[in-house]
């Protein structure tokens, strides 16, 4: 490589307005949580970014009480047209503070600034805009006249898209008239707490949104709280199953957005250069920390060598390193723990006989980084073909006929997303029908929009986020 030398182009870290301490947000105020404070680190440098106060189980109760009070006295009584105005305000404030949020997100999460700036933050704002418009139009949503909210929503979100997942959860909940207690992930709490400031700036009534940093035990306490009416979780399938078990037999309404092992299917007539771009986007976007990542590439045998060659060349041009550098394609793995998990699965790929190719890109000495990796000669029985890796690791399998492609693509307990690459329109529509997945991208990958429902089949969870369909999760219908 080395065709172009790039000078460093770092975004200013001062834009993040990083503070040394952050605190939980309950009933409209930042409060001292009674949990053990946690230190959140920059995964690209391993430096401590800030100390964050966490909630204890008793704080969960306080926050749920605040949310209940706000629900009963204010939010459920407010006309939808008024709720809408708060959501519009929040959307605008996210846009106005977008640079701050993007830099802070990249610092705390390790994702490249070009992704936080161009994808995460604008899409988060878009979710509030979209749902704001629903708040006074719920009679038209298809659930009968005057559909009712559920009450207090307990929401637990992951570390891969901290602000965006918050928006996916909070915007529809508020639009439909629910109040919220949200627990951000342990390793990425910062943008959620800046979002709390935005709620204050928007003069959102106290208690409508409450944010409690903490670990899994706080999530479990929130999910299990007796006065929570709705539980929404995005994260691993393992934890999703535990939550489904935990609340079994209660009246709580549940939606789950869990893991995936998406098939990205490339036919021999596909525009291969475009397909390679899509494959790269499918698995290396956000370091592969994407539940719907196209982690199983299924290539038609006749073009497999050609695709692999193009793919290796393209991947070797990806720039890995400082997330704040505007030219960085692949940032840091979010935590040491996740890095260890990726390494473990990659070793299993070696041990089970797959052929590993790793990009020769330089890897920083400090921080949690993993060079983009492509496994070929992968068999369906291998762990790297069955288990979600959640990292920049692609498994390549081959197929001969469209039927074989369908069989292999559907050979997974998951069912979140899938990709199809072919010039033949009739085949696209046929494949899209056959694939057991909630989102199918044809000749593109990893597209998201608040107007388009997103969610899984089978063990990728149930319920949808976005679109008219997504409102159902927060309505008593």
């Amino acid at each position: 490589m080395g065709i172009f030398e790039y000078a460093p182009a770092p975004e200013s870290r001062d834009l993040a307005n990083l503070k040394s301490h952050y605190r939980p947000f309950v009933n409209g105020e930042f409060v001292d949580g009674s949990g053990e404070p946690l230190k959140t680190i920059n995964p690209a440098t391993e430096e401590v970014l800030a100390e964050v106060g966490t909630a204890s189980v008793s704080d969960v109760d306080t926050a749920v009480k605040a949310a209940r009070k706000a629900y009963n006295n204010v939010w459920s009584k407010m006309p939808g047209s008024e709720r809408a105005k708060y959501l519009f305000r929040i959307a605008r404030l996210i846009q106005e503070r977008s640079r701050e949020l993007a830099v802070l997100e990249s610092l705390d999460n390790g994702k490249p600034i070009k992704e936080s700036r161009d994808s995460d933050v604008p899409t988060a704002a878009a979710h509030f805009f979209y749902h704001a418009g629903w708040a006074d139009k719920l009679d038209y949503a298809g659930y009968g006249p005057n559909p009712k909210p559920l009450g207090v929503a307990g929401q637990v979100i992951p570390w891969n898209f901290p602000l965006l997942m918050l928006a996916w959860k909070i915007a529809p909940a508020l639009a439909t008239g629910n109040t919220v207690v949200l627990k951000p992930a342990e390793t990425t709490p910062l943008t959620a707490l800046v979002f709390a400031e935005i709620c204050q700036q928007a003069e959102l009534p106290p208690g409508v949104v409450n944010i409690l940093p903490g670990a899994g035990d706080i999530g479990a306490a929130l999910v299990g709280h007796g006065d929570v009416n709705k539980v929404a979780f995005t994260g691993s399938t393992e934890v999703g199953k535990a939550i489904q078990r935990q609340i079994a037999g209660t009246a709580k309404k549940l939606t789950l957005e869990l893991g995936g092992k998406a098939a990205n299917v490339v036919f021999d007539d596909a525009p291969l250069d475009q397909a390679v771009e899509g494959i790269v986007n499918g698995i290396f976007f956000n370091q592969g920390h994407v539940c719907c990542a196209g982690s199983r590439l299924l290539v038609q045998e006749s073009v497999a060598e050609e695709v692999l060659e193009k793919l290796r060349y393209r991947v070797s041009t990806l720039r890995l390193g400082d997330p704040l550098d505007k030219n960085t394609d692949i940032g840091a793995i979010n935590s040491a723990e996740q890095l260890a998990k990726i390494k473990g699965l990659v070793e299993s790929g070696d041990a089970e006989g797959a052929q590993r190719w790793t990009s020769p890109c330089p890897v920083p000495e400090r921080g949690f980084f993993f060079a983009p990796t492509v496994f070929s000669d992968v068999q369906q029985s291998m762990r790297i073909a069955r288990e979600e890796i959640f990292g920049p690791v692609l498994s390549v399998l081959t197929f001969r006929t469209p039927d074989e492609a369908v069989t292999k693509a559907n050979n997974t307990p998951y069912g979140l997303s899938a990709g199809i690459w072919t010039e033949k329109g009739s085949r696209i529509l046929w494949m899209a029908n056959q694939l057991r997945a909630g989102v199918v991208w044809a000749n593109t990958f990893n597209r998201f929009d608040p107007a388009a429902p997103f969610g899984g089949y089978q063990e990728s969870g149930f319920g949808r986020e976005g679109g008219r369909t997504g409102l159902e999760a927060y309505l008593d219908v």
């Binding site: 878009a126 298809g142 009968g144 399938t237 999703g240 199953k241 535990a242 489904q244 078990r245 079994a248 037999g249 209660t250 009246a251 309404k253 789950l256 869990l258 307990p413 696209i428 899209a432 029908n433 997945a437 909630g438 989102v439 199918v440 991208w441 044809a442 000749n443 593109t444 597209r447 929009d449 107007a451 388009a452 429902p453 997103f454 969610g455 089949y457 089978q458 063990e459 990728s460 969870g461 149930f462 949808r464 679109g467 008219r468 369909t469 159902e472 219908v477």
Partner: protein, 288 residues
């Protein structure tokens, strides 16, 4: 009238379009509400549940891929056959539920009408629940509802026919396939319904009806790895939490149902149809 001994029926299960006896060989006595012996019904076992689930899985591909128009025709045909057996259903509902003939007639009529109502939904539900998504970018994005898969149904214990139809018809209308455990004490209308299904045009395996105990069979359905959704209506309220816990092992969709049986005579809505549908969103770039 001459003295004549009636031909006694042997009641069997309905699995994969056939009428096998329970693999376990077990039967249990069915009585009317006054305790008078009516018949022996097959007492389905765990193995029967497994056979029924594999039959339902095998039938899923064809049934879900059939055109909505065709599925509507088939379901309407079932309603025709129900109408043809009206008198038998009236007698069985009357004996099973201990209601007078007139009341039983109105229950049977409502059951037939409900089946017709759901038959008409097959080619409309995608229009009502699907969408063209106005995304902010050069993409064509649309969302279609698709059937969830194999659904385990614990039918209502009290309402032997109208309740059964109200929980089974929506499963079939979506294009999903069903394994149903009938009311334990009132199974005769369910058995007759299976005879109706077998002689309509419904492909074998699309609906499978087991007579037996929800308390025994429910957990096998809830924990089965190849069942996608569970309707626990016929389970004891105290057993539902356990069923939901077992269902979590494979992230099954579990219906939220009231503790006591609802009034099945009330008008149906599309809530049950929605529960057995997945929303699939497809994206494609726009360009020349």
């Amino acid at each position: 009238m001459s003295d004549r001994i009636s031909v006694a029926k042997t009641y069997k299960l309905y699995i994969g379009g056939k009428f096998p006896r329970s693999e376990s060989g077990r039967v249990y006595p069915v009585t009317d509400t006054k305790g008078k012996f009516l018949a022996n019904a097959s007492h389905a076992s765990r193995k029967d549940v497994r056979d029924a689930v594999s039959a339902a899985r095998k039938a899923f591909g064809g049934w879900s891929a059939a055109t909505a128009y065709n599925r509507g025709q088939v379901l309407y045909r079932v309603a025709e056959m129900l109408e043809g057996r009206r008198e038998q259903f009236v007698a069985e509902v009357s004996a099973s539920e201990g209601v007078a003939a007139k009341k039983a007639q109105s229950i049977v009529d409502a059951s037939i009408d409900r089946w017709v109502w759901y038959a008409g939904w097959t080619d409309k539900i995608a229009t009502v629940l699907g969408a063209a998504n106005p995304v902010a970018g050069p993409y064509f994005s649309f969302t279609v509802p698709e059937p969830t898969g194999v659904v385990g149904v614990l039918a209502p214990q009290q309402s032997s026919l109208l309740g059964l139809v109200s929980v089974l018809a929506p499963v079939l209308a979506t294009g999903s396939t069903a394994v149903v455990v009938s009311s334990a004490d009132r199974p005769l209308p369910a058995i007759t319904l299976s005879e109706v299904l077998a002689t309509s045009d419904l492909p074998g395996g699309v609906a499978n009806i087991l007579t037996g105990r929800a308390s025994e069979l429910g957990s096998w359905l809830a924990s089965h790895g190849d069942v996608n959704a569970l309707d626990p209506t016929g389970a004891e309220p105290s057993a539902r939490a356990d069923l939901a816990r077992e269902a979590a092992g494979t992230v099954k969709r579990v219906l939220t149902v009231p503790d006591t049986e609802p009034d099945w005579t009330a008008d149906a809505d599309i809530a049950r149809l929605r529960r057995y549908l997945e929303a699939k969103t497809v994206w494609h770039p726009l360009g020349v």
